[in-house]
Amino acid sequence: MLYSSQAVAKPYFIAAIALFVGQILFGLIIGLQYVVGDFLFPILPFNVARMVHTHLLIVWLLLGFMGAAYFIVPEEADKELHSPKLAILLFWVFLIMVVLTLLGYLLVSYATLANLTGNRFWPTMGREYLEQPTISKLVLLIVAIGFVYNIGMTIFQGRKTVINLVLLTGLIGLAVLFLFAFYNPDNVVLGKYYRWWTIHLWFECVWLLIMAALLAFVLMKITGVARELIDKWLYVITAAVLMTGILGTGHHYYWIGTPEYWQWWGSIFSAIEPIPFFVLTVFAFTMVNIRCCEHPNKAATLWALGTAVVAFLGAGVLGFLQALAPINYYTHGTQITSAHAHLAFFGAYAMVVLTMISYAMPMLRGRAAANSHRSQVLEKWSFWLMTVSMTFIALLITTAGTLQVYWQRFVAEPLPFMAVQEKLVVFYWMREVAGLIFLIGLVVYVISFFVGGEDKGETSAGVN
């Protein structure tokens, strides 16, 4: 750690992990509700538990991104963070917003929450991923603006590296595209159209730029490969993300009342959307192969390679599987969609944040470049437990989804939705077991932070 202000990343990372645990617990609840339909009903209906699951997902990843940026940007800009005080203030504002929103979801009915927060004056609630009360969205926007200002000023006054600029582009995109979350016209189709400008362009465009920048930073640090080479890869990845991801939005516009031409544009650009993920994977493996030093943090290296591979499988492969219009006609809005979302989110975003935490946390905690061998062994166990179980979750619900498509949409005499769901029970049970293994992996991950032992020292890395 070169600058003391990088330390503001620490509370962000700790809170991110805590909320991650919450997300998984609620995931297990809704997984069980798929098979034991009345589990916890009416105290915690499915829609509420699912909303908590996805809300926690987004906010813990945002906390992870912000922490990562606060760690990376000063080091890359070669100066202290513009305002560490603002960073800490925004942390608490964000966390309080997250907790109050959660309490709102859990303690009162959604309609009451909408009423209490004045949704009628500016209705933005009740849409997938955008369930937060308008006031929560406004707080999130203010935090995003303050955060981008802090990061932007640091970069503006310091060294403008490619990693910093790509990261900043992604973060500005994140804040700007969030504005579309506030637009909810009476014409539902128009609302759906612009909702994707936040959701899709976050997950399949600007968040990917953030992910690429984070990965590039960690790879540069742990492999010691020359910055010029890292930069070149990052340029190509950025170009590939923008050229495929933006019009890839079209694959959400096939069947929601938008014109048929989207079936062509969406399919063509979705077909090339795996390219940036493939380049990311090749990038990660090439950098590790041509490394010029042995960094003691083996766990971070594992996460860095893992995030590239699982992102490619989850976003690239499982995404492609259903992105072409003639296939999507059958798969749209089924368990196959859910499978893709799970593996893509975990691979691209959860794992890249964990990569960053794995790399930065030992230093933030005043240890040497890496945790002790014992701690790293546990962390690597958690990597495999979580990655393998999430892969199983994705495969199980892909299979369930395939059968769902067959019985509900493909055969000559289709069955009703619930009749099909009853046939899929065995897959949902197996998915729940895989989820429990994931939780075990996550517990092992948390435990790895409390394992002491001899720290691993500095290496010859850091020439960049």
Partner: protein, 148 residues
């Protein structure tokens, strides 16, 4: 490789995205222009708008899908009006849907449960008007069949 593909060339590939963004705006313009006809904008009455608010403020999308978007826990509702009409008839579809919502939850053991949202008569009628309007949107022949 370094001499053939320089960093400057790598950086310049990013400019290609400008074309993509322009194309995105053109296609968006086309979409926004044709939507009123595809969704029968003239049928979005104040009652439909109220129904949309009921839909959103009770978080229906937390379990159901609307043209495939939402959660996959409960049936598609974009075409629910057509589906119930198919099972009953034109006059009974509306009352059937309203009664269905009112008798929830079933409390059948182990079955997925839908909460009772305590909707007023006005809200129920508005929600029905919303679902009826929505079922007439031109969604490129989706869903593949009446089951959603």
């Amino acid at each position: 490789m370094n001499n053939i593909f320089t960093n400057a060339m790598a950086r310049n590939t990013i400019y290609g995205s400008v074309l993509v963004i322009l194309l995105f705006f053109v296609l968006t313009f086309g979409t926004v222009r044709t939507l009123p006809e595809r969704v029968h904008h003239e049928n979005i009455t104040p009652q439909v708008v109220l129904g949309k608010a009921v839909w959103e403020q009770n978080h229906c999308v937390g379990c159901h899908t609307l043209l495939g978007e939402g959660s996959y826990y409960a049936p598609e509702l974009g075409n629910v009006y057509q589906r119930i009409k198919h099972q009953t008839n034109e006059t009974h579809a509306g009352p059937f849907i309203k009664a269905w919502i009112e008798i929830m939850p079933t409390d059948a053991p182990m079955r997925r449960q839908m909460p009772n949202f305590n909707l007023s008569k006005t809200e129920l009628n508005a929600l029905l008007a919303f679902l009826k309007w929505f079922s007439e949107i031109n969604a490129a022949n989706w869903p593949p069949n009446i089951e959603g």
